[in-house]
C-alpha cells in the first residue's frame, strides 16, 4: 500500500518538466513552428546541473539558500498531494492549509533571494510577485473552502476522492466555477500568460523570471525543476476537479489523471497562443474576478 502511495510524488518528479515541454510545443505548433524537443526542459536541467554556480560578492547566504529551500519545500508539498485517486503520502485534516503555505514559504525564499542581490529589477519583480500572489490567495482559499464544504473533509486526499460523478450532478456549476478560479490561480502562480510572459526578454516587464536572473548553474537547475513541480502541483488541483475518474482499476485512474494533465498543458499552450499578457494594472482585476468566482462557488455549495 505504501508503495502505491509513493506513486504520486514519483510521477510528479518524472513527468513535471514534460508539462513545460508540452506547453512550449503547443505554442510552437499553433504559431506554425517546429518547436523545441518535448524533452528540452530535461536537457536544460541536466545541462545546468553540470555547471558551476557564480555568486555575486554582494550576496549573502540567503541568496544561496533560496533555491535549496524552494526545492525542498516543494518536495514536502509533493508528499501532501494525491494524484489519480491514490491518496497522498501524508494526509491529515487541515493539510490543505499546509499545502498552500508551503508554496508560500517557497515564494518567500525566492523573493528574499531576489532582494538579497540588491538589483533594482529583482526588487521590482519581487514586489509584483508578492502583490499578485497575495491577490491569488483569496481565490485559492475560498475555492478550497468550497471544496471542503462540498466534500465534507479538510484533507486533500479524501477531498479529491469525494469529487465523483454524483457530486458533479449535484453541484456541477460550482465545480465549473472552482475549476475556472483554480485555473487563474494556476496561471498566476506559475507566471504564465495572461499574468506574466515566461519567454519575455525585457526585465521591466518580467515578474517571475526577473527574480531568478542572478542564479546560475546548479541553483538555476533547482529553480527550473521546482517551478516545473509547482506547475504540476497546482495543475493537479484543476485536473482533480475536472477529471473525477474513480474506477476500480488503479492504472485507469492514473492514466485518466495523466491525460488530464497533458490536456491542461495543451490548454495552457493554447491560452498563451491566443492571448497577450495583460497590462499590469489589469492583472488585479483578473485575480479579483477569480476570487469572485470562488466566492460564488462557495455560496452555491453553502446553500
Amino acid at each position: 500500500m505504501l508503495i502505491a502511495r509513493l506513486l504520486p510524488p514519483l510521477l510528479a518528479l518524472v513527468f513535471a518538466p514534460l508539462l513545460l515541454g508540452i506547453i512550449s510545443r503547443t505554442k510552437a505548433v499553433v504559431a506554425g513552428r517546429v518547436g523545441q524537443p518535448l524533452l528540452q526542459p530535461y536537457y536544460d536541467i541536466w545541462k545546468l546541473l553540470q555547471k558551476g554556480a557564480v555568486y555575486s560578492s554582494t550576496t549573502t547566504w540567503v541568496f544561496r539558500a533560496g533555491p535549496m529551500v524552494g526545492l525542498s519545500t516543494i518536495l514536502v508539498v509533493l508528499a501532501l498531494l494525491p494524484f489519480g485517486g491514490i491518496p497522498a503520502l501524508l494526509a491529515f485534516p487541515g493539510d490543505l492549509v499546509l499545502f498552500a503555505y508551503l508554496l508560500g514559504l517557497m515564494r518567500f525564499f525566492t523573493v528574499l533571494a531576489a532582494l538579497d542581490t540588491g538589483s533594482s529589477f529583482e526588487g521590482m519583480g519581487a514586489s509584483r510577485e508578492v502583490t499578485f500572489s497575495a491577490l491569488a490567495e483569496p481565490a485559492l482559499f475560498l475555492g478550497l473552502a468550497a471544496l471542503a464544504r462540498q466534500t465534507g473533509t479538510f484533507s486533500l486526499s479524501p477531498m479529491f476522492e469525494n469529487i465523483t460523478t454524483e457530486s458533479w450532478i449535484q453541484a456541477g456549476p460550482a465545480f465549473v466555477l472552482l475549476a475556472a478560479a483554480f485555473l487563474v490561480v494556476f496561471l498566476t502562480e506559475n507566471a504564465r500568460i495572461p499574468v506574466d510572459d515566461p519567454t519575455t526578454h525585457l526585465e521591466l516587464t518580467m515578474i517571475h523570471e526577473v527574480m531568478v536572473l542572478d542564479h546560475s548553474g546548479l541553483d538555476f537547475a533547482f529553480i527550473l525543476y521546482s517551478s516545473a513541480l509547482k506547475l504540476w502541483l497546482l495543475g493537479t488541483l484543476v485536473v482533480s476537479i475536472l477529471v473525477p475518474v474513480h474506477q476500480s482499476a488503479v492504472w485507469l485512474n492514473i492514466a485518466a489523471a495523466l491525460a488530464g494533465m497533458v490536456g491542461l498543458a495543451v490548454f495552457t499552450g493554447l491560452i498563451e497562443s491566443a492571448m497577450a499578457r495583460l497590462r499590469l494594472l489589469h492583472v488585479p482585476q483578473l485575480l479579483i474576478g477569480a476570487s469572485v468566482l470562488a466566492t460564488l462557488a462557495l455560496v452555491l455549495v453553502l446553500r
Partner: protein
C-alpha cells in the same frame, strides 16, 4: 432539469458580473443579449407541459426580442451615433464587480426572508432575479453613457422576467408579452433619442445634461 435551471442561473450571474467588469460596450451588449436568450431558454425548463403553446410563444418572443432585436438596435445606435467603444464608469470595474458580488449575497439573504405564495422551481431563482435587478439599477447609476443606461434598464428587466418565470409561472401570457412590448418600445425610443442627443450635442455623456437650463 433542476441542474439545467441552476446552470442557466449561474451563467446569468456571470453575465451580470461581466457587464460590471468589462470595459467594452460591445461585450456588455453581447452579454446582456446572452442573458436574454438564457432566460428565454429557461422559460421552457420552468414551465410544465400543460401550457406548451403559451410557453413556446413567450420563449420565442423573448429570445427574438432580447437576443436578436435589442443587440441589433443597440449596435446600430453604437454605429450611427459614433460612440467611443469604451464605457466610462463613475465606479471602477474592480469595485463594480465586488459591489455586484455584495448584491448577490444581499439577494441571497433577502430571498431567505421573502415570503412567497408558492415555492419557486429552484431555490436560486429568487436571489438571482433580485441580484440581476439590483445590478441593473447599479449599472444605470454608475455609468456615464446613455447607452449603458439602456443596458442597465435591460438587465433590470431581465431580473424582473426571471422572477416572473420562476416564481409566478401562471401569470397571464398577455401581461408578459405586454411587458416585453413595453421594453421593446422603450429601447427603440431610447435608441432614437441617443441618436438625436448625439446629433445635437456631439456626445451622449449624460452627466453634461445637468448643465442644461430652460
Amino acid at each position: 432539469m433542476l441542474l439545467g435551471i441552476d446552470t442557466i442561473l449561474v451563467i446569468v450571474v456571470l453575465t451580470n458580473l461581466l457587464v460590471l467588469g468589462s470595459s467594452r460596450l460591445a461585450t456588455c451588449i453581447r452579454s446582456v443579449a446572452l442573458q436574454g436568450i438564457l432566460l428565454g431558454v429557461m422559460t421552457f425548463a420552468a414551465h410544465d407541459s400543460a401550457s406548451l403553446l403559451r410557453t413556446t410563444l413567450l420563449a420565442i418572443a423573448s429570445i427574438s426580442v432580447k437576443g436578436v432585436a435589442f443587440p441589433a438596435l443597440l449596435f446600430r445606435a453604437l454605429r450611427e451615433a459614433d460612440i467611443r467603444r469604451e464605457i466610462e464608469p463613475y465606479v471602477g470595474y474592480t469595485l463594480s464587480i465586488l459591489i455586484g458580488l455584495a448584491m448577490f449575497l444581499l439577494s441571497l439573504w433577502l430571498s431567505e426572508r421573502l415570503p412567497l405564495p408558492q415555492v419557486p422551481i429552484s431555490s436560486l431563482i429568487v436571489p438571482v432575479a433580485l441580484c440581476t435587478s439590483l445590478i441593473g439599477l447599479f449599472v444605470i447609476i454608475s455609468r456615464k453613457k446613455a447607452i449603458t443606461q439602456v443596458l442597465g434598464y435591460l438587465v433590470l428587466e431581465n431580473g424582473i422576467y426571471a422572477f416572473g418565470v420562476g416564481v409566478v409561472p401562471h401569470s397571464p401570457l398577455l401581461v408578459e408579452l405586454g411587458v416585453l412590448l413595453d421594453v421593446f418600445v422603450a429601447v427603440f425610443v431610447m435608441g432614437i433619442t441617443i441618436f438625436h442627443i448625439n446629433r445635437q450635442f456631439d456626445h451622449i455623456d449624460t452627466d453634461r445634461l445637468v448643465l442644461l437650463k430652460d
